[in-house]
């Protein structure tokens, strides 16, 4: 038997390591802590990716709808259905309508205001990501 065969055989037959005895209790302690959390906390934790993506998608859809639909017209039907809530809906609709008008008609150096707002938002988001990543990298390097 040559060295390679011998080494392969030894590696293949190497049994699993035995973890420290405290590992199982430590894991179960954390599991029991999680199990005792309220159901909504667990739902949030277990499906946070889904929630995040859904929220993002919904926000984008609402933003797009805001530009395509007139908020006043859209909410007037709701107002008609529930007269008691009409003042709230009316004010909200007015505010949204004004916002849409300003975003559509406003210009900064011949650039539509909504485009400027979008660019600034994207740039801020990017800056935050880069800053957080840099801080994490520096902390990891230091540690």
């Amino acid at each position: 038997m040559n060295d390679h065969d011998w080494l392969d055989e030894e590696l293949r037959n190497l049994p699993d390591l035995t973890p420290p005895t405290n590992l199982l209790p430590d894991i179960m302690k954390r599991v029991e802590e999680r199990a005792s959390q309220p159901i909504w906390t667990r739902f949030w934790r277990e499906h946070w990716t889904l929630i995040r993506n859904s929220s993002l998608g919904l926000s984008m859809a609402l933003l797009i709808l805001l530009f395509w639909l007139s908020p006043v017209r859209l909410l007037s039907s709701v107002v008609a259905l529930s007269p008691a809530l009409s003042p709230i809906f009316r004010v909200t609709a007015e505010i949204l309508d004004i916002a849409v008008t300003i975003l559509n008609s406003g210009r900064v150096f011949e650039t539509p205001l909504w485009l400027v707002v979008l660019a600034v938002t994207a740039a801020s988001y990017g800056t935050c990501i880069v800053a957080a990543s840099t801080v994490q990298r520096l902390a990891a390097t230091k540690s």
Binding site: L7, L17, P19, P20, L23, M28, R34
Partner: protein, 164 residues
């Protein structure tokens, strides 16, 4: 509470395997403990799905491997992790002389530098191909082959003289 008890059974059945994967990749018992805990916490969060699965072991092994590699990437400078190492590892380092031959081999694996140990463990213990290892570690195929070859050479130097 019944679910917690069922989960405890799962942990008992798989803790050795998960711990071994983590310990052999990161080369540190303390870090391997942390990673093992994280793996089982993730498993608990997906326990309902995993109970229906026929490949819990495979899932746990994959998660343990990925978390271990992430751990190395995060906490060690990348240039140092997979840099070409011209210097031979410290073979003259004092090797304890355990009676058990397997313990000696385990110790030798732990003494390998990261760049050699990680691909070697993925190849021999996770049964990944060279291509899969290269993709997982983000290094070239040639480097994977070289590192595994060097790792094996180092292991043979460390324990070969005890081989009958």
């Amino acid at each position: 509470m019944a679910q917690v008890q069922e989960f405890e059974t799962l942990v008992r059945n798989y803790q050795n395997m998960v711990f071994s994967v983590a310990a052999r990749i990161v080369g540190s018992v303390a870090d391997a403990e942390d990673i093992t805990q994280e793996v089982f916490i993730k498993a608990y969060d997906r326990f309902a799905d995993l109970q229906q699965s026929q490949s819990i072991g495979g899932w746990l092994k994959t998660v343990a491997t990925n978390l271990s590699i992430n751990h190395l990437n995060r906490y060690r400078a990348r240039w140092r992790f997979f840099s070409e190492q011209e210097n031979e590892p410290e073979l003259a380092a004092p090797v304890e002389k355990p009676d058990d031959r397997r313990e000696l081999l385990e110790l030798a694996i732990h003494k390998l530098p990261d760049a050699q140990r990680v691909p070697l463990v993925l190849f021999h213990f996770q049964d990944l191909s060279y291509d899969e290892i290269a993709a997982k570690l983000g290094i070239s195929l040639a480097k994977v082959k070289t590192d595994i070859h060097r790792g094996r050479e180092t292991l043979r130097k460390l324990i070969g003289n005890r081989h009958e």
